[in-house]
Symmetry: C2
Subunit: 172 residues, 2 copies
Amino acid sequence: MKRGRPDIVHFCMLEALGSPLNRAGLLELYVHTIGDYVVFVDPSTRLPRNYNRFVGLMEQLFSEGAVPPGAEKPLMWLRPMRLELLVRRLRVERVLLLSERGERRRLRDIASLAAEEPGSTAVLVGAFPHGDFSDEVYRLATHVYSFYPQSLDAWVVVSHFLALAADAMGVV
Amino acid sequence: MKRGRPDIVHFCMLEALGSPLNRAGLLELYVHTIGDYVVFVDPSTRLPRNYNRFVGLMEQLFSEGAVPPGAEKPLMWLRPMRLELLVRRLRVERVLLLSERGERRRLRDIASLAAEEPGSTAVLVGAFPHGDFSDEVYRLATHVYSFYPQSLDAWVVVSHFLALAADAMGVV
């Protein structure tokens, strides 16, 4: 239910890395995968637009631990890490989980929370095709919100959140 | 300069068709192609997420004129049509062109223009890798705006505009 769709991660990463918020240096992007790995991503990374080349790059990342392999400053690198440890290391005050099961709020209000104190908020979006977050993820969240009454594609959630956050921070 | 990158169109269409604004029935999507064809898209269309299947679908669209071929209500259909004629048929009052060369405005202000009178505004986004719009496109535009000082990926422009328009219309 939560694997086998790297296309979802591809679209989400393209939206995040190409967003004005990231361009303005106001975004950190992490990908937590099944099997408890975390992909660390340099914000200047230009991902392949071509899906097959993206999959090749991720395969290299998982076999070599970093891409490009052996680079002093890699664009992406991999660590075995539970989501809980990642979130603890980020030292944020708020962990917002975007979930259909969450409390309904205007997206601008959710985004404003993140914009208020940049650096103090983590936002979790599920980039898997079916199923719900694990209990562990719900326990990590300080707030669980929903901004639309139907389920949305993960990349639409990412892009719409980043757009409203960029608006709240005056970036666009 | 303006062809050979169906991946750009693929991402833009996925963002548009999956957007809350489209789900709420407030969006019409058209794709004008090199060679002066217009792709008409039923708003309920669920595009293939897989790039290779998307390309196959577009090939079928160009060879058969519609997909699925022979359907009474196709999901997408093709007409030879200049952009000017398409825009004239939409009977809109405003044609907003999003271009790096445009006048710098806050995105929320551009989106509010479109939200003020739904149905009276067309928004043009370039989904090609390099080069500028033709003079014909600039002549069609009633307003030319830019909301970020650097060039952005087309799908980021689409998603961010739709997010702020959805916000302005109270959809998210």
